[in-house]
């Protein structure tokens, strides 16, 4: 088989004036602008492109397009590139895959000698036992895995994402798809036309007929002048609920790939047909190609596919291929016409090339015809993937020898070759009728969507009637049923699955198509069934002695064509939140920690020193992410009584109270302080991580359970920058920058709130609370002034030893004080009484969230949160270490928080334990991560430090 470049073809898409140089397995080659990698190599005389997956057989061109299973190559660091589709670029470094040490001398081809042992299920059966050897098996087998090499040092490349809301999306820009897009657009509908190939036109592109070329030119011109948005080298990869579509655009000018998420009101599926290979002995020998491959090579890229050809033709496309070959100077040795019941039986030759084609001559002896090329036109596969994803199950038609759509939902329409046969004019007019129907239905869908909106959009007029489908259906041409000849051959080229394997699988009981598929891996390779599904079904049907219609087909799932993980990950839209004080932290070389969307200061180098400074002098921590809800209205106290387990009716203006919230199952949901700023004005704080959830929770109660209550909720988390000023010198520091507040300990006491002007900024409020256990003022400043106030505090306190502290320092200090953190020391099963703050729960209230469960829990003995100290003060157990009974593995609890306390010079913990272990003095055994068991003691109070709380009241 010798391939070479032909003279100029009128239909070619290459620019012979632009030569592109590239490398193939280290050697220099050249091609033209417009070539695919494969066409450039073929024009240079290359005819082996890969080795097959299992047997490492040499493989050449089969279909010469995106779906060609034999044309997967490595381009630079990009593995599994489809050389039948990817356009050639200058300086490309192209290498073959799955061949070692080289494409032409592949040692693993020895596998083909073992072929009769490597039958379906060989790996499943052989490498099952003994199980302990699996890691070894896996290591060895991994070297046999096909596919390219992934370079973990590949730099991150840019991927993009786009959202689109067209009226009509047309998948496939063949003549029917283009007509559908034009007709829909002509009615004023917004249309997106998506074409998998590099250019629109479908099969017209590689048809040399004058009428076809004239039609192509006219369609291209009309499309260019229309309002239709056209995406080429792009694929509708999936159809989901309500016509939510994934579209991957491969030819974006900047992004490697762009994922378009489109919400189409109507989807038109017009993918055309995919040519099906024929199964016979030697059907994967290089030199056996489809009729489409022959026509693409000659007409698109001017490549002569061989010297002497046998054409096996069952249809007009096979005949057209014979004409193209003849025109290209390929000697036609024989046209074997399947419509006259003639069949190809096998090819002969070396593993690298066909030297002859054996034709089944019926009763007479087989006829052997010398040839280096066998062109096969055996029939079609209808790529019904997008219709399957919409719930449609294709139905087999034996007369037309292919599957057809049955009953897609009303907002999904199909047109073109997938629904029937006809002349070009018939296909075009069916496409146009489909486009008009799609636009009419899209208008109705648009109206219906808007009508759902009671207030936001005024809807014009009445809903358009749902347009009935009055298209005259396309006919179905009779076509010989050609699946397997009288010999066995390759069914799935990607996975090296032969018809013999499928027969064997069926005999072993894997005779349902879905089972056989998984057992043999037929249809599961890179072609994903586009070429091999129907032949697989046919082989199983034959083995079962049933018809294809009875066996049915596999379900095609997304994606229609592969897309990179980068495209799926896309651009990251996740926002990052920082406080207005963050530039100061960064200037101080802060180490940050991510908490939800927030980037927060963790420490500034030495968290233990930060703790000591707070305990001795004064420290500032930026607690802006603390959730803050501004609550106004006459019924706020009723709302607080309903949400928290404790009572709120008597909270005076200027006072602050700690509250615990439970979900309706009695499990702790959130906690925080709420202050009364005015008669009908409260400020609720939530945990930083709970801010969003609590807001939703509050809205749910107000909107669904108590819609008559007059409460207005405004989330103000980011409207205020929040600064906690903690330490024995905090009052002195605050007094230096604050006006309008009497800071005297008797005038502004612990658990009180005041409005204030701080560092000249009015509209601040502060409350005296403390998570650290020190005298502290939590200051909330209008967010834009946060940095200025923080800097003013730092300046004013320089002689007091003021310094910043981060989340880690705060966590140490709160643990020294034994304050639990919701979600850290509690979990999804921790009922409110387990927190050691059961005294807060007021069961005499009429109602509050979770009350019934807490009533029933009152006489149950529940696990308890307790403070624990390891007896060896230098051992800090990992969080989540189990507390066990003695030397057994009986679990009695776990460590929920643990740190080394710089204040006490020892390790300290919080943990949850069974109720009988909760009393002070109880000895515990903690099972460390290392497996070592240590002894620890439950202490009397949650607070390891200052249990009487004298420091914070000062």
């Amino acid at each position: 088989m010798t391939m070479s470049r032909l003279g100029i073809q009128s239909t070619e898409v290459i620019d012979r004036a632009t030569k592109l140089r590239f490398k193939w397995n280290g050697k220099r080659f050249s091609g033209f602008e417009g070539d695919t990698i494969a066409s450039a190599l073929a024009a240079s005389g290359e005819h082996i492109f890969s080795r097959s997956m299992k047997y490492h057989r040499p493989r050449g061109i089969l279909t010469a397009d995106y779906w060609d299973p034999n044309l997967l190559v490595q381009v630079g660091d990009d593995p599994n590139v489809r050389a039948g589709h990817r356009l050639l670029e200058s300086s490309m470094d192209v290498r073959s895959q799955n061949a070692w040490p080289s494409l032409h001398r592949d040692l693993k081809a020895a596998n083909s000698l073992l072929g009769r042992f490597l039958t379906a299920g060989f790996y499943y059966k052989t490498f099952m036992r003994p199980q302990w050897l699996w890691p070894t098996y896996e290591r060895v087998l991994a070297t046999f895995a096909p596919g390219g090499k992934i370079d973990i040092d590949t730099p991150h490349r840019y991927h993009d994402k786009r959202y689109s809301h067209p009226d009509v999306v047309v998948a496939g820009a063949g003549p029917a798809g283009i007509e559908a897009a034009l007709a829909a657009s002509a009615t004023g509908a917004q249309v997106l036309l998506v074409e998998h190939q590099h250019a629109v036109g479908g099969h017209l592109r590689f048809s040399s007929g004058d009428a076809d070329q004239a039609a192509l030119t006219q369609l291209q011109a009309t499309l260019a002048a229309s309002d239709v948005e056209v995406l080429t080298d792009s694929t509708v990869t999936g159809r989901y609920e309500d016509n939510w579509l994934g579209i991957v655009q491969r030819n974006h000018p900047i992004a490697v790939e762009r994922l378009i998420k489109a919400r189409a009101k109507v989807l038109v599926v017009a993918p055309g047909l995919i040519e099906r290979p024929y199964v016979f002995e030697g059907n994967d020998r290089p030199g056996v190609i489809t009729s489409g491959a022959a026509r693409r090579l000659i007409n698109l890229w001017g490549v002569k596919p061989g010297e002497r050809a046998v054409v096996f033709s069952a249809n007009a496309d096979g005949d057209a291929a014979a004409a193209d070959l003849d025109r290209a100077g390929v000697e036609i040795a024989e046209i074997v016409d399947a419509r006259e019941r003639r069949r190809i039986s096998s090819t002969t030759g070396s593993s690298r090339a066909v030297d002859a084609v054996v034709v089944d001559a019926g009763l007479a002896s087989n006829q052997r015809i010398d040839a280096d090329l066998l062109v096969v036109a055996a029939g079609w596969t209808a790529p019904t993937s997008l219709l399957n994803m919409a719930g449609d199950r294709p139905v087999y038609d034996a007369t037309a020898a292919r599957f057809f759509p049955s009953d897609p939902p009303a907002n999904v329409l199909a047109t073109g070759g997938i629904v029937g046969d006809g002349s070009l004019d018939q296909l075009r007019s069916h496409g146009a009728a489909t486009g008009r129907l799609a636009a009419a239905r899209a208008a109705a869908v648009r109206h219906r969507l808007q009508a759902h909106t009671a207030r936001a959009l005024a809807v014009d007029g009445t809903e358009p009637a749902w347009a009935p489908d009055e298209r005259s259906p396309l006919g179905r041409d009779a076509h010989p049923e050609l699946y397997r000849s009288d010999t066995h051959g390759m069914v799935d080229y990607s996975e090296d699955v032969s018809s013999k394997d499928l027969v064997a699988a069926s005999k072993e009981g894997y005779d349902s198509v879905e089972l056989a598929k998984r057992f043999t891996t037929a249809t599961m390779g890179p072609s994903q069934g586009k070429l091999e599904t129907v032949n697989t079904v046919a082989a199983i049907a034959e083995a079962r002695g049933e018809t294809i219609a009875e066996v049915g087909t596999t379900v095609w799932r997304p994606p229609y064509a592969p897309l990179t993980l980068g495209a799926l990950a896309g651009r990251v839209f996740e926002p990052v939140r920082v406080s207005s004080i963050h530039p100061w932290h960064e200037a101080k070389g802060v180490t940050t920690i991510q908490a939800g969307q927030w980037i927060r200061p963790d420490h500034y180098g030495d968290p233990a020193a930060e703790v000591r400074n707070v305990r001795e002098n004064v420290g500032l921590i930026d607690v802006t992410p603390l959730g803050k809800l501004d609550l106004r209205g006459p019924d706020v106290s009723k709302l607080l009584n309903l949400l928290y387990v404790n009572k709120w009716s008597k909270l005076a203006v200027g006072k602050v109270r700690y509250g615990m919230m439970c979900a309706e199952d009695g499990v702790v949901l959130d906690d925080g302080v709420t202050g009364r700023l005015g008669e009908d004005h409260y400020m609720m704080s939530t945990t930083s991580s709970g801010a969003g959830g609590v807001w939703e929770w509050v809205e749910n109660w107000l909107q669904t359970e108590r819609p008559d209550w007059r409460v207005h909720v405004t989330p103000v988390t980011t409207a205020y920058a929040s600064i906690n000023i903690a330490g024995p010198k905090s009052r002195e520091l605050v007094s230096r920058v604050t006006s309008g507040v009497d800071l005297d300990p008797d005038a502004f006491r612990y658990m009180e709130v005041r409005g204030a002007t701080v560092a000249g900024v009015s509209g601040c409020f502060m409350w005296r609370i403390g998570f650290t256990g020190e005298l502290s003022f939590e200051l909330h400043v209008p967010a834009g002034h946060g940095l200025a106030v923080w800097e003013a505090l730092m300046d004013a306190g320089s002689d007091l030893g003021v310094g910043p502290f981060g989340l880690e320092g705060q966590r140490i200090m709160r643990l020294e004080k034994g304050h639990f953190i919701v979600g850290q020391d509690t979990d999804g099963l921790t009922l409110a009484p387990s927190t050691g703050m059961g005294g807060l729960i007021k069961l005499d209230k009429d109602d509050f969230a979770g009350k019934p469960e807490l009533v029933w829990a009152a006489d149950r003995r529940l696990p308890q949160i307790v403070a624990i100290q390891p007896d060896n003060p230098n051992i800090v157990p990992d969080e989540a270490c189990q507390i066990v009974r003695g030397d057994s593995n009986e679990i009695l609890g776990r460590i929920t928080s643990a740190r080394f306390s710089p204040t006490l010079g020892r390790s300290i913990c919080l943990g949850q334990v069974e109720p009988e272990l909760a009393t002070g003095g109880t000895k515990l055994t903690v099972l460390l991560t290392s497996g070592e068991r240590i002894s620890a003691t439950v202490i009397d109070h949650h607070a390891h430090f200052d249990p009487a709380g004298e420091r914070l009241r000062g």
């Binding site: 309500d242 909106t453 936001a456 939703e696 669904t704 109602d847």
Partner: protein, 90 residues
């Protein structure tokens, strides 16, 4: 992805909303038996057919509302019922 008709914002991707699940009435906490309360907490009708369910327009108007959806076809039928939390299978 499901397109959810928010009464205020219009049709929105379901990812823009919080799914509140099957709508269900809250029993009177003063009189509910443990089994009634736990049925409110955990048990759902889960019909294959028309279901009344709640949604929270978390990225839009921040309203909770109830809608009837056919779980077999994902059709919605109006009108949306702002704030409603009663009934399950519809």
């Amino acid at each position: 992805m499901l397109l959810v008709p928010c009464p205020n914002c219009g049709p929105r991707n379901s990812a823009d909303l919080r799914y509140g699940g099957e709508s269900h009435a809250r029993p009177d906490p003063a009189t509910a038996s443990p089994s009634e309360w736990r049925s409110y907490l955990y048990l759902r009708d889960n019909p294959a057919g028309w279901l009344r369910e709640t949604w929270y327009c978390a990225s839009g108007c921040r309203r909770w509302f109830a809608l009837e959806r056919n779980t077999a076809t994902n059709e919605f039928r109006g009108p949306p019922l702002p704030g409603d939390k009663r009934g399950g299978a519809a």
